[in-house]
């Protein structure tokens, strides 16, 4: 996992941003206030926390990475 690619990102909090949420790219849960963004093979992914990020590399990427054009062996 490339440490330098990680970044916590705050979601907008304006009154009119009523549905400015995003979902974790590993588990699908809603992210309420901020998410962990990483860049992998030139693409951005968002996670609830470090735990989901670890499992994305460990479980998701080897299994499904190729379906979205990612090399699953990367870590």
């Amino acid at each position: 996992m490339a440490e330098q690619n990680r970044q916590w990102v705050e979601l907008p909090a304006q009154l009119y941003s009523t549905d400015a949420t995003c979902n974790c790219d590993f588990c699908g849960k809603r992210v309420s206030r901020r998410y962990l963004r990483i860049s992998e093979q030139g693409r951005n992914f968002r996670f609830c926390n470090e735990d989901c990020l670890t499992l994305w590399y460990d479980y998701w990427l080897p299994r499904y990475g190729a379906t979205i054009g990612l090399n699953g062996a990367t870590s």
Partner: protein
């Protein structure tokens, strides 16, 4: 006690504390049952009650409605994340019903109240409950042909409806103005809020007795204990991958659409992954599940397969991973509709998980259930009072058979645990006459153990007009059997208009998109509705069923003597005026 040196209770103390916390949650539920205005509360018990600590971890849960067992984790935790724990003041109550913020579907509202002790925050008491009328397109909140959330009723993000003990009146006006039955909503909301006060009082007693730090640390100990117990249960499962699928038959918008529910389960030592990535993309109609529904169904299945004495708190869910991609039928993305997912698809997810794990734990799973709540909603002006009423009627269906027993007849599906509304209560409150309420003939799947039976209910309109909506499934599919057991019978929903003699589907009578998922149909005095709920699947080959039980089934008129001979190959005779097994003839039949 010095807070820094406070330690958790010993194992005996923890047991006492756990029982106290669970009973506090149960007492919340009883308060709601006794004080609410609507029958979905005081007869159906369609709610869940919880205690959370100040870190947003669930310390205790009472087992009223399993549909919310996972959702309530997120409705509370994500609200705390979104608003910030520091935003809560003593006497506040926050409410929301947002399906994208952890909720099960729009009718289910969560209320959350902080509990302070000596000026310090201990945690939160909360409940989630199904409010019958929330405005929107259809009476009763089930817009079965909705294409987006905005048609499903009034959506509330987490907002303070009580601010430091004072009602935020402007907000209450907005909410109640948008509900068709504001007085009932007022009563039900205050039953929910009142139950929070019950729990707060109980927790204050415990805090006085144990102190804040001891109670907090003991809560963590209970969670760690529950986690250990769940991990030990998972370790008993053989490592490996298991998968299964089932189908939703239409979405209320496109009658030909079918949606796949697929789960790949991976058991890895003491962790288990439930991966729903293979399920269909999000539906146009409201058969989508929220993340809360999918998580609830997963936890519900796991709790049914594991030791029932494991404390229900955040700890027991830690080793269970739920993967449900956003934008799929099992994790709806904004602005997709979702009202049917909680009531109708949750139980199907549980079936899929039982099917997947049937090879690993055949002695613990069940064949598929009828798995339809047969959601039937109606409302209008009551002819006796002139007041507007609304009701959410749910019907029992047959449960799947297990290794050790026949499936239950006509019982609320596994997601609901809701009680049947007695006919007398139903007829007293609403302008219908119940003409028939009986078991659906031969509807349980045959097997060594037999699937439970669905029911037939015939209702006659006793008002100038009633507006009805429906969200049902398993009318085209059947509840599958396991290990040679046969499927249960499908259900149906029919209407006979006044003056006619023929039953027909709502699609034929009114041109709805779907025969079983529709909204806003007007019925008139003398019209009849027939709800037939589906039966459960059988378990094991019918030829292995004990002939004595077959004779008993025939005596109970569950099926005919001809079925006993043809399907079970059991010959019967009359002995002392009673149906009994003809043992010699049965041996001969079964030897063929």
């Amino acid at each position: 006690m010095n807070q820094a040196t406070a330690s958790p209770l010993d194992s005996v103390g923890l047991t006492v504390l756990n029982n106290f916390l669970v009973n506090t949650c149960r007492e919340m539920g009883v308060a709601m049952m006794k004080t609410a205005y609507s029958s979905i509360f005081n007869e159906g018990l369609d709610f869940s009650c919880v205690i959370f600590d100040r870190d947003g971890e669930m310390v205790s849960y009472a087992e009223f409605c399993p549909a919310q067992i996972g959702a309530i984790l997120y409705t509370v935790k994500w609200t705390l994340d979104e608003l910030g724990v520091d935003s809560f003041k003593p006497g506040d109550v926050v409410m929301h019903n947002d399906p994208y913020r952890g909720g099960c579907h729009m009718p289910e509202h969560t209320v959350i109240k902080p509990v302070f002790f000596g000026g310090e925050l201990y945690g939160f008491v909360a409940n989630i409950a199904h409010v019958t009328e929330i405005g929107g397109k259809a009476v009763g909140g089930f817009s079965a042909d909705a294409k987006e959330v905005y048609q499903e009723g009034l959506r509330l993000p987490p907002v303070k409806i009580i601010d430091q003990g004072r009602h935020v009146e402007d907000l209450w006006k907005i909410i109640l103005t948008n509900h068709r039955t504001p007085l009932t909503s007022w009563g039900d909301f205050h039953a929910m809020i009142g139950s929070l006060a019950v729990a707060e009082r109980r927790l204050h007693r415990a805090l006085e007795r144990y102190g804040l730090e001891t109670l907090l640390r003991s809560g963590k100990s209970l969670m760690d204990y529950a986690e250990q117990r769940m991990r030990a249960e998972i370790r008993e499962l053989p490592n490996g991958e298991y998968q299964f699928e089932d189908w939703i038959e239409n979405d209320g918008v496109d009658p030909s659409a079918r949606y796949r529910i697929h789960c790949l389960i991976t058991v890895r030592d003491d962790e288990i992954f439930f991966d729903y990535s293979g399920s269909s993309p999000q539906a146009r109609g409201p058969c989508n599940c929220t993340y809360g529904v999918t998580a609830s169904a997963t936890f519900n299945a796991m709790l049914n397969l594991t030791d029932r004495t494991i404390p229900r708190n955040s700890g027991c869910y830690r080793p269970i991973r739920v993967i449900a991609p956003s934008g799929s039928v099992l994790n709806v993305a904004h602005p997709g509709p979702s009202v049917g997912g909680n009531s109708e698809i949750h139980e199907r997810i549980v079936d899929v998980l039982f099917g997947a794990l049937s090879s690993a734990v055949p002695d613990r799973v069940a064949a598929a259930a009828g798995a339809s709540s047969c959601n039937f909603l109606f409302g209008g002006k009551h002819p006796l009072t002139g007041e507007f009423y609304a009701n959410y009627h749910i019907e029992g269906s047959g449960w799947g058979a297990t290794l050790n027993g026949d499936g239950n007849h006509t019982q609320c599906p596994i997601n609901g645990n809701c009680r049947n509304t007695p006919v007398e209560v139903f007829e007293t409150r609403y302008p219908w006459v119940v003409e028939e309420y009986s078991l659906a003939p031969d509807s349980g799947g045959h097997g060594r153990t037999r699937g439970g039976y669905g029911c037939v209910r015939v209702l006659r309109v006793e008002a100038p007009e009633i507006t009805v909506s429906s969200f049902m499934d398993r009318h085209a599919t059947r509840a599958w059997g396991l290990f040679g057991g046969e499927p249960g019978k499908s259900g149906s929903l029919l209407v006979m208009l006044a003056g006619e003699t023929k039953w027909q589907t709502f699609l034929d009578a009114f041109g709805t998109n779907s025969p079983n998922k529709f909204a806003d149909i007007q019925l008139h005095r003398g019209d009849r509705v027939m709800i037939v709920s589906p039966g459960g699947g059988g378990y094991g080959p019918p030829l292995e069923r004990d002939p004595v039980l077959v004779a008993e089934d025939v005596r109970e008129r569950l099926y005919s003597e001809a079925v006993a001979g043809d399907v079970y190959r059991v010959a019967l005779k009359t002995k002392h005026g009673q149906i009994a097994v003809d043992e010699a003839a049965t041996r001969e039949l079964r030897a063929r």
